[in-house]
Point group: C2
Chain length 254, copies 2
């Protein structure tokens, strides 16, 4: 089974949590792929370069200057730091953006009410490249960047990349998607860290939404998780990023 | 035959010359590898971020801040722009730093009279990775960054990377090294652009040095070229970067 593990920007932007995450990640046995988020480092670098950051509904608006910044920070600094750290742990990591080896082809999001700028919606994942690398015992480390085939890099949400990569791999191999974040899993009560829901089925998800007992931020994550399952991914785990590989957290299954 | 083509920072930092170079590069048939330099964009970004650039004998002193900048700019912005542009031309490029797939292992240069900071001297090139990628019809695009195996990225001169990559490949495959730069080749008279020396043998190189008719900047380039040949590289061509693949310029051979 191939495990596609996504880690968010919140974990990787702190030296300490990044190290703990990479320790956990490097111990996972078998074929694996890492998809990392961007995080606030891009905002900080953009600020220092005199570019202001505009967010709409939690998503970064990516003008040309911001595109250069995310290409530098996500594709360069963050990706290479993770790769070098994994290499030091004996994990043969290889960093990729969506342009590398034509890994993730996307199109610039059409402007409806909001112009997100140079943001890409994924059209195709080159799963053969990932499978070839895995067969060489290489661990792909994917930055949240796609490309449009016309020489443009595009900024793409890391959750989306992880989910699209897992869905594409699932067409060829048994694939699990693991979404690592700051909490132990999906909580029944947002104020009670021990209220992790062990398993969520579509029926339970509907019931939780009706009850209103699930936090608003979790709904898109869970919706994406069920999309992945409907597209052939065997299972999705939402868990503490520092415990990936421990089979804890919330299991999403059909 | 595998062609390892090096292009300097001076070419890639100008949109127009970069495009012309990539057009020429994409037309080269057969297995090929691109090694790109950094150029002054790192200096510009460092300036904007408030880090001053210190050069000693034409080499950048790389403190921790500058290391982050070159990792961002060379490994992120420049590398991914080149990869996306080549993808648009139908060349299946894949960008790599020396950390990716443990491609270029180096050690931090020991401090003698000058402390160059986080600069790497190459110990080993993982030529198998390059050969595996080439067999998948992938064109590796290598940024001038190595790593030390202890989670540190190191800044390494692109000429050195190109030469070490060619030498390592030459142990397994017939390999040619092509050094693309701003002139048509090695000039007999620096003031006469048409005075390109067609072929330089070790004997002629010695004679030219004695005569003093070769520019100081060319001597390390030619010395490196002969080192590559002595280490098994079939031939070295020094030529106009915009004409790589045209078999013009200066041929260095034993």
């Amino acid at each position: 089974m191939i495990k596609v593990i996504k880690v968010g920007g919140g974990i990787i932007e702190q030296e300490k949590s990044l190290t703990l995450f990479l320790n956990a990640f490097s111990k996972i046995e078998g074929p694996k792929v890492l998809v990392h988020g961007g995080g606030r480092l891009a905002t900080k670098v953009a600020d220092q370069l005199g570019h202001s950051t505009k967010m709409v509904e939690g998503r970064r608006v990516t003008d040309k200057n911001m595109l250069d910044v995310v290409t530098m920070v996500y594709g360069g600094l963050t990706n290479k730091k993770i790769v070098a750290a994994l290499q030091a742990k004996g994990t043969n990591a290889l960093g990729l953006s969506g342009a590398d080896g034509n890994l993730i082809l996307a199109h610039k999001r059409p402007v409806k009410t909001i112009d997100y700028g140079w943001v890409g919606d994924v059209d195709h994942v080159n799963s053969s490249l990932i499978i070839n690398l895995i067969q060489e015992n290489i661990v792909p480390v994917i930055a949240p960047l796609s490309h449009d085939g016309n020489a443009n890099i595009l900024n793409t949400n890391a959750d989306t990349i992880a989910s699209e990569v897992a869905k594409a791999l699932a067409q060829k191999e048994d694939t699990q998607l693991i979404l690592g974040f700051e909490l132990d899993g999906v909580l029944k009560d947002i104020n009670d860290k021990s209220s992790v829901i062990k398993k969520i089925t579509p029926e339970l998800f509907d019931a939780l939404k009706l009850e209103g007992s699930i936090s608003a931020g979790m709904i898109p994550k869970l919706t994406n998780a069920f999309d992945a399952i409907n597209a052939g991914v065997s299972s999705v785990i939402i868990c503490d990023a520092l415990k990936v590989g421990e089979n804890e957290g919330t299991l999403i299954s059909a």
